[in-house]
Structure formats: structure tokens, C-alpha cells
């Protein structure tokens, strides 16, 4: 075995942050692919597959969808607040920010469930299949975000993070930001363009 000169200890690699960034990119492509299918099918209006767009009886509650968008923007602010607070050694505020991230995330899920309840369209229709599946996929992403923030809150309360090590919190904040950006696309395509 050839003996190369030993190297000094490396700085702690930021695996979790980089891994989360890659996973967030993959999640974004997943939802964007579905949105592309939505737009592609919507474009065929009147061609036989979709004779009308939107179907009769569809109620899109724009107040709820806008509230959901604002709520998700708040989760981004809260998650970044947690990182900022931990950088300053303020565990108490970091913990509060993470708990608020979880609560805002849960509120966003609640808003989506409300939108489903008033949508007034059956699943077994072209429009229904598309919107329920796309928003359902996004809710799965939201649940993952809430779970991640919850775990980080527990780890934070347990003293896992310090001003010198905020990688987990930064990764969570990145995932929250990505989820918010993805919802911006979902919101624009499903609730604005319709």
C-alpha cells in the first residue's frame, strides 16, 4: 500500500444541507412534471379529451388558496428565523421559530383540506383527477416538511445544535423555502390560471 502524506482533519462536511438541496430539486421536478401534464392537457380544451375547462360546478376558493400561500411564506420566514436565532446562540427563539414552522405547515395542510371540501368536483373527471392528484402530491410534500421541522425542533430543544453547528436547521429552512417555491407554482397554475 502506497503511503501518501496524511491530511489534516477536514472541516465538517455539510452532507445534510447538500443532500436536502438535491432532494428539494428532485421534489420540485416531480411537481413541475405534474403541472406540465396539467398545462398540456388543459391546452387540449375542446379537442375531445376536455370539452370544457373549467367543468361546471367547480368552486375554487381563492381566499383559502391565497391564505395558504401567505401561510407558507410565513413558514419560510419562521424557518429562517430559527437559523438566525441559533446562529446567535438563542436556543429559545430557535425553538419557538421551529414550533411556529410546524404550526404554519399544519395550517397550510388544513387550508388545502378545506379547498378540497368545497371544490365541488368529482375525482373521476379529467379536471378532478388532475387537481386532486397534484394538490395531494403537494400535501405529501408538506407533511414531509412538517415532520422534518418537528424533528429539528426536538433536536434543537435537546441541545443538538449550537451557533457553530446549524446545518440541520439550515437544511430544514432550505426544504421549507423549496416547498414554498413549489407551492407558488402550484398556486399560479391551479388557482390563478385555473
Amino acid at each position: 500500500m502506497l503511503a501518501l502524506p496524511p491530511a489534516p482533519a477536514p472541516a465538517r462536511p455539510r452532507q445534510m444541507l447538500v443532500g436536502t438541496a438535491l432532494a428539494a430539486g428532485a421534489a420540485a421536478m416531480l411537481v413541475m412534471g405534474q403541472l406540465a401534464a396539467y398545462v398540456s392537457i388543459r391546452k387540449t380544451e375542446g379537442s375531445g379529451l376536455t370539452t370544457e375547462w373549467l367543468p361546471d360546478g367547480v368552486v375554487i376558493n381563492e381566499i383559502a388558496s391565497n391564505t395558504m400561500l401567505i401561510t407558507l411564506l410565513c413558514t419560510s420566514v419562521m424557518a429562517q428565523w430559527a437559523v438566525y436565532a441559533m446562529h446567535r446562540g438563542d436556543r429559545r427563539n430557535a425553538g419557538i421559530a421551529l414550533v411556529l414552522t410546524v404550526l404554519f405547515g399544519a395550517a397550510a395542510i388544513n387550508a388545502q383540506v378545506f379547498i378540497w371540501s368545497v371544490w365541488g368536483v368529482a375525482f373521476a373527471t379529467v379536471y378532478g383527477t388532475l387537481v386532486y392528484t397534484i394538490t395531494g402530491t403537494f400535501v405529501a410534500l408538506l407533511v414531509a416538511m412538517v415532520l422534518m421541522a418537528g424533528v429539528m425542533a426536538f433536536r434543537s430543544f435537546g441541545g443538538r445544535y449550537s451557533p457553530k453547528d446549524t446545518e440541520g436547521l439550515s437544511a430544514t429552512a432550505l426544504f421549507v423555502h423549496a416547498t414554498t417555491v413549489i407551492f407558488c407554482a402550484v398556486w399560479y397554475v391551479i388557482y390563478v390560471l385555473k
Binding site: 500500500m1 452532507q15 443532500g19 412534471g33 401534464a37 373527471t125 379529467v126 383527477t129
Partner: protein, 532 residues
């Protein structure tokens, strides 16, 4: 603050070797392993087993095509499903995981990491992939898959497809994260070995392309199971997911092989690669062009005849040709050591290039190789498919000849391996070239019952013989591996006079891979050491 920053080269005292928990022994150790070397080897082993099974399916279909009047060996209704099984299986059950498994096993050593990033996730990706492929085969066996008659089995196929693709994405994420975060001190992105670079490039494009397939498959599943108003029935399933088997997407699965070609030939040349930057650039271009072209087809299949699509696809093929030319050219620099690995990777990458070039021509209108609707492709498409993926399998075998001694500690017999490389090359040509010719005669791609003028009987007989020969080559290579890596000549730590970090550790590497992390000052750290 960037994700790709190089760690400080002179920072703290030497690190103590990583402490690793002993793994369970025996079968439990293999099943529960989080060791990247075992995970990579299991990926490779399962891929080769699946390859033999799928080549047998290909052979059966090949024999059915000889007599174009109908089916003799199988039920006529199963023909479409068997073609689907062969295509999905060879792409996501053999070629992509074979190269991913090699990347999992090789990349951490190449970049000087003690382990792969997220080792448990890598193990999860392996077993999820195995489970997914198993369920997919089960779904086909129960009359499922695209065109299947059993609705529940069709649903099962879609669910299995999601599982397989998600598993491969997780594996790709582990490889990409390893390259970005776990490089040895001093190893900038410009200094990483070519196999690690192409592993990263391939993983990155897989991570941005295959999730689209997952998203569409979720839509397909929801529609097929609960409404069937959106995408039609079982027969239309392929319209929305077949882009993942289009030539350009196939190139993405093969991208990791380009760096393996470059590394093997550079090592064989016994000199530094003077055009390293060119190789790095062309591997990236091949990946990006193929990704761009593939995404065009995902939602607009009619673009296949578009000039821009053909140009981008051809650009990707030319990038592969450039990698091939530069790599082979390096062999002429000094007296090279021609190994079995060299023969395998050069012949395999030539097949890859031919497949890519032929794939670029698929949309060329005057050749009339593509019909206006799904399923009306000529046999040309199948020829392209086989050239690319079986070429990638040859490249994978070459990588096993090269890095196998590092992973197992023993060498394969060179003479026998070179013989298999040449026979494997002939087998791929036999499988794929007749299909290209048959495509020009307008023989349909995925049918065994057709009426075409020309010597299709001879062409299909040659193709069927090629499938059998390729299956024999894979079986023989597997047996050679079992014998060579268990009872072969001990390899030593650096059997090929290597240039990159993996050859600085023992064969097989100890837990933690490196006792001491070396400082890297050039792309060829071992060469530096030997010249000093």
C-alpha cells in the same frame, strides 16, 4: 459559502481513523449492510442476474420475430407486455442500476471519502430497487404492465415503477452528495477523477429527469385506479411514460460510464491525461444535451422530427464521440497496457456512440422511422435501445474488470475476460444492427406479426442469436467473476499502476477506506507520489 468549496488543506491536527461499528456476519450482514462497498456489489450482482433473465426474454421475442406470421412459443396477447418488460427491465433493472452500483462502490474511494454519504439511504435504495423490480416482474406475470388485461396488475406495475425510480433517485442522491461534500482535502471539482465526475453528472441529470417520471406515474396511477378518464386505458399507458425509454433518456442512464471509459484508458496509457479538461467538458455536455432533448420529448413527442431536437441529440452523440476519441487517443501517447477492462470499455463506448448517432436519426423524416402515434416506431428504435443499453452493460463489465480487484482483492483472468469482451461486442452488434436494417425496411418495433418485404427472417434470426450469445456472455462473465474474485490471483493494492486515490488503499479497502486522509494536489495524486 458554496456547496462545492474545497476544504482547507492545512487546518487541524491529523484525524483519527473513523470508528466503525462491526457489521453482522453472514447473510444478515449483507442484508442489513450500510457498507457502500457491499451495497455497490449487491447492485452489480442483482443487475447481472436481471440481465440474464431479460436477455432470455429478448431471445424468446427474437425467435418469435423470425416467423412473422404469428406466435409459436408464447401467447400472442403477451407479446406487447413482454416487449415492455424487456425495455423497462433492461433500462431500470439492468443498465442504470449496474452503473449506479459501480458508482456507489467506486466514487467514495475515488474522492477519498471514508464512506458514501447517507450509507443507510444507499442501502435503502438498493433493497427498494430490488423489491420494485420484483413487483414489476410479478405485475407483468399477472397480465399487468402497459397493455395488460388485468387492471389491478397494471396498477401494481405503475406502483412498482414509482418504487424503482424513487429508489434509483435516492442512490443517485447519495453519489452526488458524496462528490460534493466528502472529497479529500485539496480535491477541487477540477481534480476529481473522471469516473467520480461522470458519476456526479449522471446522478445530477437522473435527479432532475426521473422525478418527472415519478410525478407522471402518480397521475397515471390515480387516473387508472379511480377514474380512467384522463389517460385512457391500459393501452395508452405508454404514451405518458415511454419518454423514459427514448434514446436521449437512455443516454442519461449511461452517462456514468463515460468517466469509467476515461479513467480506464488513462490508467492503461500509463501517463497523465493531457486533455482532462476537454473530457470533463464533454461528459458534462453529453449529459446536459441528452437531458434537454429528453425533456422535450416528455411532453411533446411530436418534436422528434424537429431540427432542434435532432441537433441537440446529435450534439450529445458527438460529445460521446469526443470522449471516446480523446480516451482512445491517450492510449497512443506511450506504450499502453491493454487490459480486458480497456477492451470492454472501448468496445462498449463505441456501441454507445453508434446507438446515440442512430438515435439522433430516429426523428429524421426522410427515413420514416417514426409513425405519428405511439407503437408505430420501426425496429430501428429497438436497435437504438439495444445499442445504447447493451453498450452500457459492456462498459459496466469493463469497469468491473478494472475496479473489481480493488473491491474483491483478486483479479480476473485477463485472457478469458478479453475473449468475453470481444464476443460481447459481437453479440451486441448481432442483437442491434439487424434491427436497424429491419427498421429501414419498415418492420414494426414491438410486434412479431407483420408483413414486410425484405430479408427480415434472416435479420431477426441474427438478432435472436445475438440475444442468446449476449446472455451466454453475461453468464460466463458472472461465473468468471465468482471464480476470479474468490480464487483468482491476489490483486495487490495497485494492480494497474493507477493514478487516483482508490489505488492508495488496500484491496479490498478496510472499513473506513483510508487509514489516513491524503492531501490532493493534482488530478493524479498517486502519480505525483510515484514520480516524487
Amino acid at each position: 459559502m458554496t456547496m462545492t468549496e474545497t476544504r482547507p488543506e492545512h487546518a487541524a491536527p491529523a484525524a483519527a481513523p473513523a470508528t466503525t461499528r462491526p457489521e453482522p456476519s453472514g447473510l444478515a450482514g449483507w442484508i442489513m449492510t450500510g457498507d457502500y462497498r457491499r451495497v455497490g456489489r449487491l447492485y452489480v450482482g442483482f443487475s447481472l442476474v436481471f440481465a440474464v433473465a431479460l436477455l432470455a426474454v429478448g431471445a424468446v421475442l427474437g425467435f418469435e420475430k423470425i416467423d412473422s406470421s404469428g406466435t409459436q412459443l408464447i401467447d400472442g396477447d403477451a407479446v406487447g407486455q413482454l416487449f415492455s418488460l424487456y425495455r423497462w427491465g433492461l433500462a431500470l433493472g439492468v443498465a442504470a442500476p449496474l452503473l449506479l452500483g459501480l458508482a456507489v462502490a467506486i466514487v467514495p474511494m475515488q474522492v477519498g471519502a471514508r464512506s458514501i454519504a447517507f450509507p443507510r439511504a444507499a442501502a435503502l435504495s438498493l433493497w427498494a430497487w430490488v423489491l420494485g423490480v420484483g413487483v414489476m416482474v410479478g405485475a407483468f406475470a399477472d397480465n399487468g404492465g402497459p397493455g395488460g388485461g388485468n387492471s389491478e396488475a397494471v396498477d401494481l406495475f405503475i406502483a412498482a415503477l414509482v418504487l424503482v425510480v424513487a429508489a434509483l433517485c435516492v442512490g443517485a442522491l447519495c453519489v452526488a452528495t458524496t462528490v460534493l461534500t466528502l472529497r479529500a482535502p485539496g480535491m477541487t471539482l477540477q481534480r476529481i477523477p473522471m469516473a467520480a465526475w461522470s458519476g456526479f453528472a449522471g446522478s445530477a441529470v437522473v435527479l432532475v429527469s426521473l422525478p418527472v417520471l415519478v410525478g407522471l406515474s402518480i397521475l397515471l396511477y390515480a387516473d387508472h385506479r379511480y377514474g380512467r378518464v384522463l389517460f385512457g386505458g391500459n393501452l395508452q399507458l405508454g404514451e405518458w411514460i415511454d419518454w423514459a425509454l427514448n434514446p436521449t433518456q437512455l443516454y442519461l442512464y449511461a452517462v456514468p460510464a463515460l468517466g469509467m471509459l476515461a479513467d480506464v484508458t488513462t490508467t492503461a496509457s500509463r501517463s497523465r491525461q493531457p486533455l482532462r479538461g476537454v473530457l470533463t467538458g464533454f461528459v458534462g455536455i453529453a449529459a446536459i444535451f441528452a437531458f434537454g432533448a429528453s425533456m422535450q420529448l416528455a411532453f411533446s413527442p411530436e418534436l422528434r422530427g424537429d431540427f432542434f431536437y435532432i441537433a441537440v441529440t446529435l450534439g450529445s452523440a458527438l460529445a460521446v464521440l469526443a470522449v471516446l476519441v480523446v480516451s482512445v487517443g491517450s492510449l497512443a501517447a506511450r506504450k499502453p497496457r491493454i487490459t480486458a477492462a480497456t477492451v470492454f470499455v472501448v468496445l462498449g463506448s463505441f456501441m454507445l456512440f453508434v446507438g446515440q448517432a442512430a438515435g439522433a436519426m430516429t426523428g429524421y423524416e426522410r427515413l420514416e422511422l417514426v409513425g405519428p402515434t405511439y407503437g408505430s416506431d420501426t425496429a430501428w428504435s429497438l436497435g437504438v435501445f439495444n445499442y445504447v443499453l447493451l453498450g452500457a452493460v459492456l462498459l459496466g463489465m469493463g469497469a468491473l474488470c478494472h475496479w473489481g480487484p480493488k473491491l474483491w482483492g483478486r483479479r480476473l483472468p485477463e485472457g478469458a475476460a478479453i475473449g468475453l469482451a470481444v464476443i460481447g461486442f459481437l453479440a451486441v452488434v448481432l442483437v442491434a444492427f439487424p434491427d436497424l436494417v429491419a427498421g429501414l425496411l419498415d418492420q414494426p418495433a414491438y410486434a412479431v406479426d407483420f408483413d414486410v418485404d425484405g430479408p427480415t427472417e434472416l435479420l431477426n434470426a441474427l438478432s435472436a442469436a445475438g440475444y442468446v450469445l449476449m446472455a451466454v456472455v453475461v453468464v460466463a462473465f458472472g461465473l468468471l467473476m465468482v471464480r476470479g474474485f474468490s480464487r483468482g490471483v491476489p490483486a495487490g493494492d495497485d494492480p494497474w499502476d493507477g493514478q487516483t486515490l482508490e489505488w492508495a488503499t488496500s484491496s479490498p479497502p478496510p472499513p473506513g477506506t483510508f487509514d489516513d486522509l491524503p492531501v490532493v494536489t493534482s488530478p493524479e495524486p498517486l502519480f505525483d507520489r510515484k514520480e516524487a
